[in-house]
């Protein structure tokens, strides 16, 4: 250990000066070996570099880069007597605490504001996206969805496809919308249906097979068309992208910034829409079905789902992504009794859409 000393660095050079302190007056004087005054420090401006008792030689600054180090306990005690505040732990000032709290609160408020304004923002943004963009994005997402869900690929039995196209055309004519609809059937056992942006709709084989009448398929189809017209899928894609971009950096997780190999777009479609979105789609569906003069198929389908609620199938099928069937069936019942959705031969053909032409010939 070096001998106890008091030394001073003037903040201009790294040279070390042995000094004594003259504490008789305020400002205090730092006096060099040769009796020259090296600096005068106002007592109110002196502060410790470290907390008192931190196991570090006592170091002080009096404004600027100059430093005073007191290894000599006696001199240190004299300074602490002269400036008692130096011996106390420095509490952060009220202003500093307030500033910190205000800063954090501002960031939190900004985030909360973003969070609250997010749905409205997304809805506004989705309205500005051109239909042609939605159609292209929807096609990509629907392609991927069909590829992921169906083991046997897309169902394209010609007679069934033609029947489905006729039904789609009839509903689309009643819908009065800029979207052109492209409905496909994926070879999957689940009873469910998905709406991608821009008029791309995917029905699953399980839904067509479990429907008891063509009106039920028409009802579900009209409901998915409602999602398209309300741009729910487009909003969902925007929302997903937004969340990823904002939350990734905020959470400080580099892996979330890395390229997303899962290609989230298709996944988004399999997530459920909000209850509000489902109600909007139902309202649209009721309008479309009424205009097309098709009987209450959606209500029947939802009723049957509601009955099966609690059964295992409900959790993997339509209900898992379209909740509250019982309540929604009530809305859907507003459709007046109408005609059948398609001629019986079309309905038979649609039921067989997932059989290859060869299978159909055999049976």
């Amino acid at each position: 250990m070096p001998a106890p000393s008091c030394h001073y660095n003037d903040g201009k050079s790294a040279a070390r000066h042995a000094v004594t302190l003259d504490l008789t007056a305020d400002p205090l004087r730092i006096v060099g070996d040769d009796g020259q005054i090296m600096a005068v420090w106002r007592k109110s401006e002196i502060h410790g570099i470290d907390e008192p008792g931190a196991g570090v030689p006592a170091r002080f600054a009096g404004g600027g880069d100059a430093r005073l180090t007191l290894d000599d306990p006696e001199t240190l005690q004299r300074l602490l007597d002269a400036v008692p505040s130096l011996g106390r732990r420095r509490r952060p000032s009220a202003a500093a605490v307030l500033q910190a709290v205000a800063g954090v609160a501002a960031v939190l408020a900004l985030m909360a504001g973003l969070y609250l304004a997010f749905p409205a923002l997304i809805e506004r943004l989705a309205a500005y996206i051109p239909v042609s963009w939605e159609e292209a994005a929807g096609k990509a997402a629907a392609d991927r969805l069909v590829a992921r869900l169906s083991a046997g690929g897309e169902c394209r039995e010609p007679a069934g496809t033609a029947a489905l196209e006729r039904l789609t055309g009839r509903l689309a004519a009643a819908a009065e919308t800029p979207f052109r609809f492209r409905v496909r059937v994926a070879d999957a056992a689940m009873a469910n249906a998905f709406a991608a942006p821009g008029g791309h709709i995917v029905l699953l084989r399980g839904l067509v097979e479990s429907a008891e009448t063509s009106e039920e398929v028409a009802g579900v189809l009209a409901h998915e068309m409602g999602h398209v017209i309300e741009r729910h899928a487009t909003e969902a894609m925007l929302r997903n992208a937004g969340i990823k971009v904002v939350l990734g950096p905020l959470l400080g997780d580099p892996s979330s910034l890395m390229p997303d190999l899962g290609k989230a777009a298709a996944v988004v479609l399999t997530l459920s829409f909000s209850r509000k979105a489902e109600r909007e789609a139902d309202d649209r569906a009721v309008g479309i079905l009424t205009a097309a003069g098709i009987g209450g198929g959606l209500a029947r389908f939802l009723d049957r789902l509601a009955e099966s609620e609690g059964e295992a199938i409900a959790y993997t099928g339509f209900l898992s992504t379209h909740p509250e069937a019982r309540e929604r069936a009530r809305t859907a019942r507003q459709t007046r009794k109408g005609a059948a959705a398609m001629p019986p031969e079309d309905w038979m053909a649609l039921k067989r859409i997932c059989q290859s032409p060869a299978d159909g010939a055999e049976s």
């Binding site: 050079s13 790294a14 040279a15 196991g55 430093r67 954090v104 971009v245 390229p259």
Partner: protein
């Protein structure tokens, strides 16, 4: 110039004395660490800026160069502002742009989606060294010794580009360019480091590193390849069994054999991968010692005598400390690293440091930003 030549002719280790002393102890640092951890959780992460600052203040104040402690003058507010700037002005616009482009591309040509992914990946790989360089600049500019501040000049964007280029060159040369690249990167960092108005200089060349590098590379490859060859040789009896007396009767025996074989080969290969990494400590130690010896600050010379064995002990100890305590021993690891650095650094002509004067400087007002987001840097 004459003084420089004179000091060059002096063997650094002989005139050198232990220069750094670390006075920190694990327990006081742990108390700061655990309070930080609890408060960071309670404040949803916002306390971490102050927490980091407190840890650094402790480490700096307990490190002495010669007879004088270092001083850390950074504040939590600066780190917080840097974080906000990095998130809102750099990362969100960048990844928003890439994300938008990705969707645009998905429409045009879904098969060609790889491009936006590669760009995003390259951007992240580029931003990490940029962040590291800026972190180093911030820490130096908040470090004082005898009231004299340190600084770092140079461009973080250029350093990021150099690092990215180094990675590409290293991959293209199957690793052989690494000593050359790391020497260049270190030269850029040291030559841009200042204490007051005096600039550090770095005279290392890559050539002296190559004998060590090639030797270690050879040993490492042998460590990796020998066990793999052994596994391959062991596969012969298995294949012979498969080809030869394959019948239902010995199917069970065969299955048992294959099970053992795969289990054993997995273990051996895992061990080989770990084993092949160990020799690199000898290269890293050599590199650290050589780089330190080639660093100067005016008349001051630096030296370090780090052996591969010492470095290996430090790293293995740190690894097990962290793994066995689920990270709670981090303060102990800090103390071990600081003690290691302090015990190995020697400085020649240390007394001449008094001639260094303050540099008139304008320092960065905000903190580490990107680095905080990417969570890079040791402390």
């Amino acid at each position: 110039m004459e003084t420089t030549r004179q000091t060059k002719s002096l063997p650094a280790t002989k005139s050198a004395a232990a220069a750094l002393t670390f006075h920190g102890r694990p327990w006081p640092l742990f108390r700061i660490f655990i309070v930080n951890l609890i408060l960071t959780i309670l404040t949803l992460g916002f306390y971490r800026f102050r927490g980091k600052t407190r840890i650094r203040r402790y480490l700096w104040s307990h490190t002495a160069f010669g007879d004088e402690r270092l001083e850390y003058t950074g504040t939590a507010k600066q780190l917080f502002l840097g974080f906000l700037i990095a998130v809102f002005l750099v990362l969100i616009p960048l990844f928003g742009g890439v994300e938008g482009w990705r969707h645009y591309q998905e429409i045009g040509d879904p098969e060609d989606m790889g491009l936006s992914d590669s760009v995003e990946f390259a951007a992240v790989v580029y931003l990490i060294p940029v962040a590291l360089y800026r972190t180093r600049r911030y820490r130096l500019s908040r470090s004082k010794w005898r009231g004299i501040g340190a600084t770092q000049t140079g461009s973080s964007w250029l350093y990021g580009a150099m690092t990215l280029g180094s990675y590409v060159l290293t991959v293209l040369t199957l690793g052989l360019a690494w000593p050359f690249c790391s020497t260049r990167l270190m030269a850029y960092k040291i030559n841009n480091t200042w204490l007051g108005g005096s600039r550090f200089s770095f005279t290392a060349k890559a050539a002296p590193l190559y004998p060590h590098f090639l030797a270690v590379l050879g040993v490492s490859l042998v460590c990796l390849l020998l066990p793999i060859m052994a596994v391959a040789v062991m596969a012969w009896p298995a294949l012979a069994l498969l080809m030869g007396e394959f019948s239902l009767a010995n199917l069970q025996g065969l299955g048992h054999f294959l099970n053992t074989y795969f289990f054993l080969s997995f273990g051996i290969i895992l061990l080989a991968v770990i084993l092949s990494r160990l020799p690199w400590n000898w290269y890293k130690a050599r590199e650290l010692s050589y780089f330190t010896g080639q660093t100067r600050l005016r008349d001051l010379t630096f030296a370090a005598d780090i052996s591969g064995w010492n470095l290996l002990k430090l790293r293995i100890g740190n690894f097990f400390l962290l793994v066995l305590t689920l990270g709670l021993a981090l303060p102990v690891v800090y103390v071990r690293i600081c003690r290691f650095m302090a015990s190995h650094l020697r400085v020649g002509n240390a007394a001449r440091i008094s001639a260094i004067v303050q540099r008139s400087k304008e320092s960065s007002r905000t903190g580490e930003g990107l680095a905080d987001v990417f969570d890079v840097g040791e402390f």
